[in-house]
Symmetry: C2
Subunit: 347 residues, 2 copies
DNA sequence: AATTAGCACTCAATAGGGTTGAGTGCTAAT
DNA sequence: ATTAGCACTCAACCCTATTGAGTGCTAATT
């Protein structure tokens, strides 16, 4: 473990680099941070820190730069010691903005990403709620016109999904109603997950009277359920990355932006994170995806009641302002949870 | 009007610049294009062309570069003379891709942008179908649970929209059905546009029996209709812009990407174009939006039957390959029209 | 009168050389 | 253990040619 002085030197380097994005040398540290030792001593400490993997030099005669390992130490410390106190005024202000501008759930999440990016000055990401665990509340077949039938699925959180399909000969309304009632009786209260698994044979056999029709409807229900909680992912503030000198290089900027543009990758990124509570931080090389190897990803979850249903976060350079970002994310997590729970929650 | 030789020289400059993005001088032209005159003559012609506003020089002793006016001439010529012949094999290949990968309409349009960008190597844009003109086919109120009611609106093109809302005391199912029937009777067959305008007082008065309830439902229907054909806009291949040396400048790239990221602006861009048929081309300074002042925007429409409902296009540097892009767009226009008309069309 | 050859001139881009300054590591003195 | 001192390194900056693709103008040629 690092002794006190080494830590002080290391934190001085980190502090300086977070601010300036420039390598810093021993003399500058001794002048700017009152560590009570000479530059020579700091030089020796820095040499040790380099050997330990906390610092590195862009070239032989330049100052030092913190490594991912240094950030990791710094961040872990941060999470342990600083009890993050949330500015309640700011929280309420953001909540007002969020509720004011968002009518639908997806819009809310999209807006959250937008505001988050504006506040943090980093690129923001958010994924729409995963609702595989919600329960089916109502299912109904409605005749539209001739042979066209509308299938309506209503989930317990106000989630609705419908599909129009054709049955060759048409079905009389009263038969449709009987089937609707039967399906309701059978499926109501089950989660989407459950239904997708259970919707096989057994149901059909109980209603041999309408076997042909149900045979056709089942796959349609199945498909409908599948898209019921389609994942949407939103990003905002891509160009914020240009603010950071480490991305003045066109190729780096390009690979970053390409990554953010690829929704599939983003979904992967946000879904494969262990859905735990609290703040999740991935620093530089800890990221699996090549274009993020010198970024840090900070995410947190939002919930419905006490069920974790989504994730929101921020990507920036590894030398990002972790403390501010973490605090902002906490605020967004709380707000989204509150808004969603109010919007969908009360059962 | 330009004489033959001037045109030849001008086209030589354009041709060269499209290829290399470098200013070209008289000597190089005389060597590379067999115009049958010496470089001095070309020099004189170029001087004239500059005076006429077709060419310009980045600095006093550099070669010439075509102006927006030159591109305009070139493109108009192109549209007049070259009968664009569409490669039917390619068209079918793209159609196959489009149909294979797209289940829903929005997905289709999004995919179209993706494939278009991949083919042209430019940034592609597409806007989802505008369906204000579709007719309402069915409206129904369904009781869900206690006081919750589901409003279902079905449009003639398979467009469905639903909203859940609460009525304090709940309404018995048979009353709901009567209201549904009444609304159906009143609104069926009208376009969304019409309903939004007509849904005021008159309706209420005819059904004083349920005045209170209908009073509450009307604004909900209104809101539902509004979002029924919500505009979505898709972009793909933002980072393609980095391929062009004129965007090696970070600030330019940034302003371009910021523009593309702003969906509101994109919607504006694609909606405010006169919805005519055929190819629409805006070159450089002709663009209203600052960040596009040295881009060209090429768009075309797609239809449902013979009703224009959307727009798809491409943004690239002014020195883009107009011919190839126009041909690609023609293909996409045809394909989208065909697919959508099959998907939604047959009434 | 139109075309061309010739020439002086311009200017961005490139390459080389010197200077600066913030940094290093090592060693000897405190 | 700490510090002062010193030689060394290297990116960044600023000069100063040099080059080469271009121009415009003028005088000779067709």
């Amino acid at each position: 473990m690092l002794d006190e002085r080494k830590k002080k030197v290391l934190y001085a380097v980190i502090d300086s680099y977070l601010l300036t994005a420039e390598p810093i040398g021993s003399r500058t540290i001794s002048k700017r941070y009152n560590l009570g030792v000479s530059s020579a001593t700091i030089r020796n400490e820095m040499s040790d820190l380099e050997e330990l993997g906390y610092l590195s030099k862009p070239h032989t005669s330049s100052g030092r730069v913190p490594s991912d390992k240094a950030y990791r130490l710094y961040v872990d410390q941060l999470l342990k010691t600083k009890k993050l106190k949330i500015d309640m005024n700011k929280k309420e202000e953001i909540k007002r903005k969020l509720t004011k501008e968002s009518k639908e759930i997806d819009e809310l999440i999209q807006n959250a990403a937008k505001i988050l990016s504006a506040i943090t000055h980093y690129t923001a990401l958010a994924i729409s709620p995963q609702l595989k665990k919600i329960r089916l509340k109502h299912i109904q077949l409605i005749p539209i016109d001739g042979s066209e039938i509308l299938l309506v699925l209503v989930g317990e959180k106000g989630i609705v999904k419908n599909t129009i399909f054709n049955i060759e000969h048409g079905i009389p309304e009263n038969q449709l109603n009987r089937i609707s009632n039967f399906l309701n009786h059978k499926l109501k209260g089950l989660t989407i997950d459950d239904i997708e698994k259970a919707i096989e044979r057994p149901i059909i056999e109980e209603m041999y009277e309408f076997k042909d029709i149900i045979d056709k409807i089942i796959p349609i229900i199945d498909k409908s359920l599948e898209t019921m909680d389609d994942v949407e992912v939103y990003s905002d503030g891509i160009t914020k990355i240009f603010d950071f000198p480490e991305y003045k290089d066109l190729d780096k900027a390009r690979s970053f932006i390409s990554f953010i543009e690829d929704k599939e990758l983003l979904i992967d990124l946000l879904m494969n994170n262990p859905i735990e509570n609290g703040i999740e931080i991935t620093i530089g090389d800890e990221n699996i995806y090549e274009p993020l190897k010198d970024c840090s990803l900070i995410t947190t979850t939002y919930k419905l009641g006490d069920m974790t249903i989504g994730r929101i976060g921020v990507i920036g350079p590894t030398r990002m302002d972790y403390l501010m970002t973490i605090n902002s994310l906490k605020i967004f997590s709380m707000n989204l949870t509150e808004i969603l729970t109010r919007l969908l929650g009360e059962e």
